[in-house]
Point group: C2
Chain length 141, copies 2
DNA sequence: ATTAGTTTGTTGTATGATACAATCATTTTT
DNA sequence: AAAAATGATTGTATCATACAACAAACTAAT
């Protein structure tokens, strides 16, 4: 296949990441890590830092600090794990849910705006291919 | 249009960024900022920190430090601007070119691997849509 | 031509995300 | 019971980033 396609993709990925990350920084209140972590706790229920770190492929220390910060800000509750005195479960709080939702809404609005003028077909294909790319990355990188 | 499409895209973008950034950290020697800056200098020739900052939508101080670091490592030369005693031009060095190329090659190899098994059509469409998304983001975000 | 204002770049300080190594407390294994 | 393993936190370090303060150099206004 044409080498140029790979090159285009590589370049556009670079631009993509830069733009999205900057835009998130400008527009979101939560910070992308917090957002992701909170989303996980919301959708999959309480979890320990270890579980979260595994799930997100991050170091436990990273998640530990992250979680501590979120607790301080009231986004999560830290509950002792009755089965194991060393570990805790972090559970999203009402406050956390509220902020998460607000952020999600704002993000979706942005996506909608970016996709204005695209055909339904294009949007759907883009979503599908992103998904496919992600799966491929996970499997082979 | 179906709200679900936007939601999928938003989520997949999150995963995408996380995965790619982590993979870059594991695999690349240059660091994504350095890589992008160096690529710019390579393709568009010498530039001042101001120009670079504008081009990349970053603060001048950020680029200033970045450039200083790259000079220290020998990736670029810092040349005084004869027209203006305040400013300099950063020019990619041979060493910089070499490292840039090595990194680019490694990245392309990764992209190729991820895209293994995709049809040519799919890869091309993905590249095209990424490009389109980026353009939209730039215009409206 | 001298002063006042503007621009370019650097540095100080701060934040967020990240990892590795050391450590503490607890649990499990032997 | 002692030794080994595990879960979490904390110390330290790096990278990318921004804003504010500043110095040097340039430009405009009087």
């Amino acid at each position: 296949m044409d080498e140029k396609t790979f090159d285009t993709i590589d370049r556009e990925i670079g631009v993509f990441i830069r733009r999205i990350v900057l835009s998130e920084k400008r527009n979101d209140t939560l910070g992308r890590s917090t957002y992701i972590l909170l989303g996980l706790l919301h959708e999959e229920g309480p979890a320990s830092v270890k579980m979260l770190a595994n799930r997100l492929q991050l170091d436990v220390s990273t998640v530990s600090r992250q979680a501590a910060g979120m607790e301080k800000k009231g986004f999560v509750h830290k509950l002792p794990n009755p089965e194991d005195g060393r570990s805790y479960f972090y559970q999203i709080s009402e406050r956390g849910k509220k902020d998460l939702l607000e952020n999600r809404t704002r993000r979706l609005k942005r996506v909608r705006k970016v996709l204005e003028g695209w055909t339904d077909e294009e949007s759907q294909v883009f979503g599908r291919l992103l998904q496919k790319y992600n799966k491929s990355v996970q499997e082979r990188l």
